[in-house]
């Protein structure tokens, strides 16, 4: 029997491999179903549906021989969906909302908070309670009014009825349907308290609510919410609150706290454009971000390449040792290196500053002067980044065929000319994409800026949280989260999307340029 034409012939159709694959799939499916079931149980329907769809897609890909090539791509695609596309969509969504401090909860949660609030009218009767519980966990309560010495009893479903108020209460009681409830020891009622306080007992006119262990009182709901008109009414004052951008607001402008998160359209984007506090430093921050990323790439590349060229020379003694030593900065976590450098640069106690002071008589103000703060950041970033550049340059250098240089030697080209005309262009072809990657990384190098000086020194005379060394991403952080100034996730997401577009555009330009470079060579 011939194989279907689309299925390539190979050993992968062996029975053993197939069995392994099926077992793997069965395992994944079982896991996914378990997870989906848990998600549905928590009411997370969209997530559950997405999970099921993805799982079906995985099954299809791994069972249909025609989709053989996609099998190897699918984990990558899945990860991309999960780690790139999903956060991106989520950011776009959050940027359209007012999610942040004061608007953390959902509308449902906020309405529940208001409608479950009760107040005690001044003339309310305060009861002592005795709890009875049935075998299936239903409650029957006896409310004793110590002032008038009367008793009311009933369950959640019926209106409380007066019962005989003389003598001790019996160990068991029956409700109107004949179901039996047995008395719960006073000590044991505490653990039931949270369930009891939620039961709206009623004496016909008033709500009787459990207020504590053995205590209850007549109460009235403080707020009433009408889903039809979307209005919240304060029962004590009669004031009607209407929702305005996620906050219940009275006609006189008084608002109720907390608010909830709602879609507010493009307001966050407009704020970025309109608010002078945000807009005015934007240009200077943008220019510095660009310069910072560009100089970081240039400096690390120049230093890294020089080291690579030197280490590539076979006549250099102890090459292995040098190579190891030079890679050390790469092996130390960047945050630790930055903190060490901060110490070295400290004008009072830093060794590096001391050295400069010893030679030149004065040392630059690394953390106070805007220019030197920027220079300090570039110095550290060069230190952090050159080993990576050196590593990739070393690899790329070794892939350049040696006979080219022999030919150049014969033609009488000097070393410098060979480097300029042969080494550098050939190197750039393979390294240019990595340079772009480094550029994009530094464009968002939040950690370094934050660890060095938290974006400082501050800009004098301007009302902006941005500092002299803040780049776009750290500036976003300061705007959105400040120093304990509360979180504004909506605004932060809007700015993050601006940055995404900027970096995306730059990268696209870069790619176009690289393609031209490749065509030239």
């Amino acid at each position: 029997m011939p194989q279907p034409p689309s299925a390539p012939k190979s050993s992968r159709s062996s029975v053993g491999g197939l069995l392994l694959r099926l077992l793997g799939l069965a395992f994944i499916d079982a896991l996914a179903l378990l997870l989906a079931y848990a998600l549905v149980g928590n009411g997370l329907w969209p997530a559950a549906i997405a999970l099921v769809v993805v799982t079906i897609a995985i099954n299809w890909i791994f069972l249909d021989e025609r989709l053989y090539p996609v099998r190897w791509l699918s984990p990558g695609l899945l990860m991309m969906l999960l780690m790139v596309v999903y956060p991106l969509l989520f950011t776009v969504y959050v940027a359209l909302t007012n999610y942040g401090d004061g608007h953390l909860l959902s509308k449902e949660q906020v309405v529940r908070q208001f409608t479950t609030q009760h107040y005690q009218p001044p003339d309310a009767v305060v009861y002592q309670t005795t709890v009875y519980m049935s075998a299936d966990g239903a409650f029957l309560l006896v409310f004793t009014d110590p002032k008038t010495n009367t008793r009311l009893a009933g369950t959640a479903d019926e209106i409380l009825k007066p019962i005989d108020a003389t003598g001790d209460l019996p160990g068991a009681l029956k409700d109107s349907t004949g179901k039996e409830y047995s008395k719960v020891e006073a000590m044991k009622t505490l653990r039931l308290l949270d369930r009891l306080t939620k039961i709206p007992f009623s004496d016909g006119t008033n709500v009787v609510q459990v207020t504590g262990m053995g205590k209850a009182s007549q109460r009235k709901p403080a707020y009433a919410f009408d889903p039809a008109t979307d209005q919240l009414t304060d029962n004590r004052t009669g004031v009607v609150y209407k929702p305005v951008k996620g906050t219940f607001t009275a006609p006189d402008g008084k608002t109720l706290s907390p608010g909830y998160h709602v879609m507010i359209g493009f307001e966050n984007y407009l704020r970025v454009v309109k608010d002078p506090n945000i807009r005015s430093p934007f240009l200077r921050v943008f220019v510095w971000t660009f310069l910072f990323a560009a100089f970081s790439v240039l400096l690390t590349f120049v230093v890294g390449l020089s080291m690579a060229v030197v280490l590539n020379d076979k006549s250099l003694p102890f090459r292995g040792l040098f190579r190891t030593l030079i890679i050390i900065p790469y092996a130390i976590p960047a945050i630790i290196s930055t903190l060490i450098w901060r110490g070295l640069l400290n004008p009072n106690y830093g060794q590096f500053s001391g050295l400069i002071k010893g030679v030149f008589g004065t040392s630059p103000q690394w953390f106070i002067d805007p220019f030197w703060a920027k220079a300090g950041i570039l110095l550290i970033n060069t230190w952090l980044g050159y080993p990576y550049m050196m590593l990739i340059c070393l690899g790329a250098l070794q892939s350049i065929p040696g006979d080219m240089f022999e030919a150049a030697d014969i033609d009488g080209a000097g070393k410098w000319l060979q480097f300029r005309k042969l080494t550098l262009p050939l190197l750039l072809v393979s390294i240019a994409p990595l340079l772009i990657g480094t550029f994009a990384f530094n464009f968002n190098n939040f950690g370094l800026i934050e660890a060095y000086n938290k974006g400082g020194p501050p800009i004098a005379g301007e009302a902006t949280p941005a500092g002299q060394t803040d780049i776009l991403i750290s500036y976003t952080f300061r705007l959105a989260f400040g120093s304990g100034a509360g979180a504004d996730y909506g605004l932060a997401s809007a700015i993050a999307l601006f940055i995404f577009l900027l970096v995306g555009g730059l990268t696209m330009l870069n790619f176009r340029y690289t393609r031209q470079l490749e065509e030239v060579t």
Partner: protein, 417 residues
């Protein structure tokens, strides 16, 4: 059947196999899942969950054991770093994953209450057992939102070998600092956070000259419309800091960790800092003393902070949580064991009176001169601009009065948008 078609048949069959395997794997899950899921949710409802920083875990766990024995409610004490409790609550509680009780600082109230995350607490008769300052700190919108256990305030910490008697006035402190520096005994007579600036530690200098952040109303609440950072006193405080930098009495670029290590090394003779420094100071073996902050134009008013337990509004056991706090934590034994594990100024009066530690007593004396740090949400708008103004003066890049005026203008703009 030829072997190749057998293989094909087998393959077709095995495509159905996963379904079968799956069914057998999943069947028990379905069979059990329903009662299981119900049980898990109920269990969560019956278990009192607390987020507590490391030092208080043991004391709270002990009280929890007594609580379980008496009422049959399981108590789960989870260790969470103090610095992350607030943010974790803000993320976890709305998602239904939060605890019933957290330990936190009173100045979180504004933010947490505005987000609807805290439940008011009725302390009943137990209220009388607390230091009134601590209850005032935990009062927001005339409701109490926390059960305090510790208070803290900064005071003058001095090196006894360099400073035999602590200075009573700011002028004395400066003269002494100059003498010590000129004598080459120390790097700095008095150490203050200058790089980056720290408004919290600098605040006593502001209040000593008659400034304030928000005006305190007679009832102890704060008026966010009256910002006093740039008043006459505030400007004078800024000029004072400026002249101290010029005179070499304040060094630039000194951060918090620099001050800590320089003081312990005997290179700084005096600092204004809080009781959280005690474990480090005791370990170092340095001879230190603690005194009230020296007087400027008037007695400086440091911020007083309070730590305590708060009940989450989105917890599943709110009533149980309240009962646990009021009955079991507001209690001599519990408060004593928290104090033993985490020595702060006790907010529980019985424990406070029994304190024999002179260091804690000295910090308590300083706290008595202070006011609770405002917990209103507007307070969070103050720090950034205020710190920036201080930095500009420490770095000598702007006129002191102008710097604080600019900061105040920016703060006012943020408070009423």
């Amino acid at each position: 059947m030829p072997p190749s078609s057998l293989l094909s048949f087998f393959k077709k069959l095995t495509r159905l196999l996963p379904v079968a395997v799956l069914a057998t794997l999943v069947a028990p899950v379905f069979g059990q899942a329903k009662p299981d899921a119900g049980k898990a949710a109920a269990a969560k409802e019956g278990v009192l969950t607390l987020w507590v920083p490391k030092l208080a875990v043991q004391a709270v766990s002990n009280a929890g054991k007594d609580f379980t024995a008496k009422y049959g409610v399981e108590v789960s004490v989870q260790e969470v770093s103090f610095d992350s409790i607030r943010d974790d609550l803000k993320t976890a509680a709305p998602a239904g994953e939060g605890p019933d009780i957290i330990v936190g600082a009173h100045d979180w109230l504004g933010e947490l209450v505005a987000n609807g995350l805290l439940e008011p607490l009725d302390l009943g008769d137990k209220a009388a057992g607390f230091d009134p300052v601590s209850l005032k700190a935990f009062t927001y919108d005339s409701k109490v939102y926390g059960l305090p256990y510790g208070l803290e305030a900064i005071a003058l910490i001095y090196n006894k070998e360099l400073v035999p008697t602590p200075p009573a006035t700011w002028e004395e402190l400066k003269a002494l600092a100059k003498k010590l520096q000129d004598g080459g005994k120390v790097d700095q007579g008095y150490g203050l956070h200058t790089g980056p600036a720290d408004p919290y530690h600098t605040y006593p200098i502001f209040t000593g000259f008659g400034s304030y952040v928000f005006k305190q109303n007679p009832d102890g609440t704060y008026d966010p419309s009256d910002l006093g950072l740039d008043n006459e006193g505030g400007q004078e405080a800024m000029r004072e800091l400026n002249s101290m930098v010029k005179a070499g009495l304040l060094r630039q670029n000194i951060g918090g960790s620099d001050i800590d290590s320089l003081f312990v090394a005997g290179k700084i003779a005096m600092v204004i800092d809080g009781p959280w420094r005690l474990p480090d100071l005791r370990k170092s073996g340095i001879k230190y003393g603690i005194a009230k902050i020296p007087t400027m134009k008037q007695q400086p008013i440091p911020f007083v902070g309070a730590q305590g337990f708060m009940v989450s509004a989105l917890g599943k056991n709110k009533e149980v949580a309240k009962a646990f706090l009021v009955e079991f934590m507001a209690d001599d034994a519990s408060m004593k064991s928290i104090y033993d594990a985490d020595p702060r100024i006790p907010a529980w009066l019985a424990t406070q009176k029994a304190v024999t530690d002179p260091d804690i007593a000295a910090f308590a004396a300083s706290a008595a001169t202070g006011q609770p740090m405002p917990a209103i949400p507007q307070m969070s708008k103050v720090w950034t601009d205020w710190g920036k103004a201080l930095n500009l003066v420490f770095q000598q890049s702007e006129d002191p009065a102008k710097a604080i005026k600019n900061a105040a203008t920016s703060i006012r703009a943020q408070i009423k948008p």
